[in-house]
């Protein structure tokens, strides 16, 4: 269940692009009712079961809808489903659907579509996020508007998941094998017109759309005609296009954000509550990181605050917890007491204890995944570690590769080369991420102990909030004391949006769900 890893491919910025805009005066702000949203990369698939990237997810949000929806605080609320009730044992959930919801092809959206979607997620080519659906054993259509889902065991993260885009409801008329690549039928606010791979996705407003749960005023269809999601890899090009009005919404190059703010022409909308978290994790199956002191040394030697200040200029926040801000259980103060403040001396002591010193540095390799200027951050960390006598080579790779490599590392304890550590990034709407990461066998077969497994079990089976909070924080404390999962920062900048003045009401819901329902376009 690789969840919404920001699967951005490596991209060479092109500044000359700047004049793409400055020249293309004509192209400025085409027809008033068309909104162009420029992003650094394309989606991987239109099929919610076939991809995991945030970029894909953000497009699914527009085409499909979900049974539940997060409010601005990140709590699941009724949406397609007007309500749900769980049996006492918490194993059977019954959902009642709102009436009059239509799929884009004109067929009504009903219980069969729900069953179709869930069955499909567990089918022979299961959803890539299958396990995060939870231990679902059965789906039954009670009547057109009632559907019953049965779990094998209690699952605390079940409802939140149903508010997430990975649970997007796919209409049961998506039987063509073009589904995912050139067709996609949902019940969301926009209909797919076409997807030109590597270039743009064209969406038309869905006039039949009814908004039940999304945290915006507009309860009806979108208030403009067409949404074009265009791939413009180069930050400078996006900025240029914004300036000329070719594009209405885009992430600007972060180096220019200060300038943009001061100019004041474009609005800057920063997504907070992204649910994203960047952290150290280690290959604990073999030296050097089988020794907690080595892990702690790394933790002490990294000055995350200084690094993100240099690279992201305050657009990212220091994160002490293993789960991101805005996610149930995140509490900076609580986490900080087990955290590792920058302390090179301490780090050197620990290393000295282990017999490392200036003359024989601890040698290892740091995995970093491409994009987001992470490689520059890594370069600073590399320098910081070097100062305490940790010689870390950097290997930059695609996130998919990194996932495989990390797991591979953990699973080869006899590898003679020194164990690696990596800067992992996760984005999740619920502490259940910790279960998926660290409960054996574990996402990466990494750090795991029987007692941790037990504690994680409880975070799933405990439903009642206060109680669950305790369980979650216990896990957090355990992970941090063992320096198995050392939080670094919550990236904000990647989800900064520069918005043209004529665009009103652009919102980013929690966990990076951009919402266009309230958006109105003034005639330029």
């Amino acid at each position: 269940m690789e969840i919404r890893l920001l699967r951005d491919v490596w991209r060479p910025p092109v500044l000359g692009a700047a004049l793409a805009g400055t020249m293309a005066l004509g192209g400025a702000c085409a027809t008033a009712q068309e909104l162009v949203w420029a992003r650094y990369g394309d989606i991987d698939s239109l099929d919610p079961h076939r991809a995991t990237s945030t970029l894909s997810m953000q497009v699914w949000d527009q085409i499909y809808d979900t049974l539940l929806a997060f409010d601005m605080d990140g709590n699941p609320q009724p949406n397609l489903a007007s309500g749900n009730e769980a049996s006492e044992d918490g194993l059977v959930y019954t959902f009642t659907l709102n009436e009059g919801i239509m799929c884009h092809d004109g067929t009504p959206f009903d219980a069969n579509d729900v069953k179709f979607t869930i069955d499909r997620a567990f089918g022979d080519t299961p959803s890539l996020t299958k396990t995060s659906w939870g231990p679902i054993s059965d789906v039954t259509v009670v009547d057109d508007l009632t559907v019953q889902v049965t779990l094998e065991s209690k699952f605390g993260a079940f409802l939140p998941f149903l508010a997430d885009s990975f649970s997007s409801m796919v209409c049961d008329t998506n039987t063509a094998d073009t589904f995912g690549s050139s067709t996609a039928i949902g019940s969301g606010p926009f209909k797919l017109v076409e997807w030109v791979k590597g270039d743009e996705i064209v969406l038309d407003a869905n006039p039949d759309f009814k908004n039940f749960g999304k945290p915006v005023e507009n309860a009806g269809p979108p208030m403009f005609d067409r949404l074009i999601v265009r791939t413009v890899p180069e930050p400078q090009t996006r900025l240029a296009a914004l300036r000329t009005g070719e594009v209405q919404i885009a992430e600007p190059p972060f180096d220019d954000i200060e300038a943009i703010k001061s100019e004041g022409e474009l609005d800057i909308v920063v997504a907070d509550n992204t649910g994203q978290n960047v952290f150290w994790e280690f290959t604990i199956s073999r030296p050097p990181f089988d020794d907690i002191r080595a892990r702690q040394a790394v933790a002490y030697a990294t000055d995350a605050q200084m690094a993100i200040d240099i690279i992201y200029g305050g657009l990212s926040q220091r994160e002490w917890c293993p789960i991101a801000r805005g996610v149930f259980g995140n509490d900076q103060e609580f986490c900080k007491q087990f955290g590792y403040e920058y302390n090179p001396e301490k780090a050197m002591e620990l290393l000295a204890e282990m017999g490392f010193g200036p003359d024989n540095p601890l040698e290892t390799t740091m995995f970093v995944w491409t994009g987001g200027n992470r490689h520059k951050l890594a370069e600073i960390f590399q320098a910081q570690l070097a100062q305490v006598g940790i010689k870390a080579a950097i290997e930059i790779m695609d996130i998919g590769t990194m996932n495989a490599r990390v797991k591979e590392q953990n699973e080869s304890p006899d590898d003679p080369s020194p164990g690696t550590f990596d800067m992992m990034t996760w984005s999740w709407y619920d502490p259940d991420i910790l279960y998926q990461l660290w409960h054996s066998p574990g996402a990466y077969s990494g750090f795991q102990t029987p007692e941790l497994d037990a504690m994680l079990e409880e975070t799933r089976t405990t439903i009642e909030p206060e109680a669950r909070l305790e369980k979650v924080q216990a896990v957090i404390q355990y992970l941090m004391e063992n320096a198995a999962h050392v939080g670094l920062y919550t990236p904000g900048w990647e989800w900064v949006f520069a918005v043209r003045p004529e665009v009103e009401g652009f919102k980013i819901g929690p966990f990076l769900h951009p919402i266009f329902l309230d958006v109105t376009l003034e005639e330029g």
Binding site: M1, E2, R7, V9, W10, R11, P12, V14, L15, G16, A17, A18, L19, A20, T22, M23, A24, G27, I43, D44, S45, R50, A51, S56, P126, L128, T129, K130, T131, G180, S181, V196, K197, G198, D199, T231, V232, P233, E234, T237, A240, A241, E246, T370, M397, D398, G400, T401, N403, A404, V406, K407, E408, A443, Y444
Partner: protein, 306 residues
């Protein structure tokens, strides 16, 4: 002639055939279990991996795998990309037109600039024209594509703000094409020059002079025509190098072609896509060289009439 074309076609086929073998082997050269490497992103359970292994026939002996692969290729099935699980051939096809536009326009630039420069140098051999032309050429040869690209960007796009880069319209093609074209023009200039110099030393040029023909006729009718033969024969390779250069240049200019795709694929370890790209590349280059060989045959009667 027919025999010649047939021969070239056969050569092309062999190239492609060897390419298919190469890409099949490629995945097995990667240290570790191919399936694990390709699909071992961690949400996949061992069972699922097994399923994939069987589905892709990677459990079969390698020669069987190869035959299966070949079979699929013949049905135009290059396999599916790991990222997004779409048919590789579709992805390549949607991206290829941009690359073709880039390479062809650069080829045009390279030929026009390079050949005329080389011809001029050879004709004015030993004079300052020759020297300066060749200095220009060797500097051009030594200039990294990607740096030239950045410089052009910096100059024309940022400082002078003359030309666009992104936006997909024809004007955004200018800089990439120029970058790739000029670099190869330099190579072509050197080739053309030495080819033409060889020609100018030929007896038949002396004969033409002895006939009292005007210089222009001697040059164009006798020398140039014969000189083109060796130069054109080089173009096949030049095209291959343009295709190769496109990989870099597309990345400099964010030109949305197969070259960028290839790099993305390498970073994503999207092996089916990498395999597809290499094979695709081989096919394009092979076909291109056939076309050029035929053109070359038409220039050279010694081949045309035999």
């Amino acid at each position: 002639m027919a025999r010649f074309i047939l021969q070239r076609l056969m050569a092309a086929l062999v190239t492609i055939w060897i390419a298919t073998i190469a890409v099949t082997i490629l995945i097995h050269l990667v240290p570790g279990d191919p399936v694990r490497i390709m699909y071992g992103s961690f949400q996949t359970t061992p069972e699922e991996l097994e399923a994939i292994r069987v589905r892709l026939g990677l459990d079969q002996p390698i020669w069987r795998q190869y035959l299966m692969y070949l079979g699929r290729l013949l049905h135009g099935d290059f396999g599916n990309s790991i990222v997004g699980d779409q048919p590789v051939i579709d992805i390549l096809m949607t991206r290829f037109p941009s690359t073709l536009a880039l390479t062809l326009s650069s080829l045009f630039i390279a030929v026009v600039v390079g050949m005329s420069l080389g011809f001029l140098a050879a004709y004015k051999r030993g004079t300052w024209v020759d020297v300066s032309a060749m200095v220009l050429a060797i500097v051009g040869v030594s200039m990294p594509h990607f740096w030239l690209g950045l410089l052009l960007l910096f100059l024309f796009a940022l400082q002078l703000q003359w030309l666009p880069v992104a936006g997909g319209d024809w004007r955004s093609l200018i800089l990439p094409a120029l970058t790739l074209g000029l670099a190869n023009a330099a190579v072509l200039a050197r080739l053309t020059r030495s080819a033409m110099i060889d020609i100018f030393d030929q007896d038949f040029v002396r004969t033409a002079h002895a006939k009292g023909l005007p210089k222009s006729i001697v040059l164009y009718r006798h020398a140039l025509r014969s000189g083109l033969v060796p130069v054109v024969s080089m173009l096949g390779l030049q095209f291959a190098y343009l295709m190769g250069g496109a990989i870099v240049v597309e990345n400099v200019f964010a030109w949305n072609g197969v070259g960028r795709l290839a790099i993305e694929a390498v970073f994503a370890r999207d092996y089916p896509l990498i395999q597809g790209f290499i094979l695709f590349f081989a096919i394009i280059v092979a076909l291109a060289s056939v076309v050029i060989d035929v053109a070359y045959a038409f220039l050279d009667p010694r081949i045309r009439y035999s």
